[in-house]
Symmetry: C2
Subunit: 238 residues, 2 copies
């Protein structure tokens, strides 16, 4: 009698569309192929990233005594945890051991995540919104390279991340407090650089040649465009 209809639902999230000059959708996909990591790396990173968002959000739940903030955070934490567990299930269906597949990326992704934890809860909330926003887009784009497995992961990542209430909290702070606005604006700029590095580090080879740079450029351009829209929606310039 398990019935997950209990979980609050929202319409599916926007899927990142890749566009540079002209409509490059398929062309980009093909070019990306050679640079995409192997399926194991893709799955391990995608699963561990969601666990990380969950850990960061649940740290914030504990840190706030405000029950409405707890609600906003627990909704998003739950969505991240469900995604983590869903990717873990995909890994297991392939006959692989989730913890073994995640372990190689643990140190690097933990370090990244710790660097996204701010001095104030609002900074950390913004971190999750920005980094998860960009990296979910990125892994959703990568997913096209892994056939059926990739389609499953894309479906998981397409589910709404339930961060709207967190965005409302950040926006309210930005509107009410000029000092916080400027602080969050700087914080966001720092985060973007770190996040792009994480995305790039997922690609092989480690050092991209000039041709490779050309291939991935439209992907990163699309990530930055989606990021700019998120910043606009918050009333921050990117």
């Amino acid at each position: 009698m398990v019935n997950w209809k209990f979980w609050r639902r929202r319409p599916p999230a926007r899927i990142l569309r890749l566009r540079s000059r002209g409509d490059l959708g398929d062309a980009t996909r093909v070019a990306f192929e050679e640079l995409a990591p192997d399926a194991t790396t893709f799955l391990g990173q995608a699963a561990y990233l969601q666990l990380g968002y969950f850990e960061t959000l649940s740290r914030l739940i504990r840190a706030t005594p405000d029950l409405d903030e707890k609600e906003a955070l627990s909704l998003a934490a739950g969505a991240a945890l469900v995604k983590h567990r869903a990717i873990v299930d995909v890994i297991r269906e392939r006959g692989e051991v989730p913890s073994e597949i995640m372990r190689p990326f643990q140190a690097q992704l933990d370090e990244f995540r710790w660097a996204t934890i701010g001095a104030r809860p609002r900074e950390t909330m913004l971190s999750v919104h920005i980094t998860a926003g960009m990296l979910d887009d990125f892994y959703r784009t990568l997913a096209a390279e892994y056939g059926d497995t990739g389609r499953k992961v894309a479906r998981i990542l397409n589910v709404d991340s339930d961060r709207e209430l967190i965005v409302d909290l950040i926006r309210a702070t930005i509107e009410a407090d000029d000092e916080m606005r400027s602080l969050l604006s700087m914080w966001a700029r720092r985060l973007v650089g770190d996040t792009l590095l994480v995305a790039r580090a997922a690609l092989r080879p480690q050092r991209l040649g000039v041709d490779d740079e050309k291939k991935v450029e439209p992907v990163f351009t699309a990530l930055m465009a989606a990021h700019a829209r998120r910043m606009d929606a918050l009333g921050l310039s990117s």
Copy 2:
């Protein structure tokens, strides 16, 4: 396209059966009626308790670097969070504001929860297993007093809490380490007393008369019996 089938499912958990001399099922229900708190108190406490289990479990996820332990903990944390959110939805359906309904119990239940956080992660895992085990049984029993709302909450609490992997971890520690066995055994005894007090504090009047004591006695006897079975399963005496 939200699809919670991703979440790992297990068969529904055992429902607490009330039995003392003879088969008292319905008799107990009727007697309980006068002592049960109002629906708002019931819902606020039930919702906030699940959030508390979630917070304690997610604290443990962060505390351990072991990915298999994280997995065990995240499964249980997710189940608690889903239950919390489901009860929150029931509250909202009644036209009430979840944060307002939970707030009166926040200080008391936080204090209880902090007292269940042990010096070692295994103690805290055992705390969740024991306290959530007893209190879910208790609120499931109370649920019979609240008609349709109660049925919804009972249905939510009947969903598996996904703590099996945590129980496996505790059991492995108990089998491997005599010092930990004795420590966890003492810890469990302390927890039971605190947990029974929380259950009793939920009942009105605050000070139970002799007749009231007789009415609730079979409920507490059933709680203790279920607790003893959980302890047995761990290889601990209760």
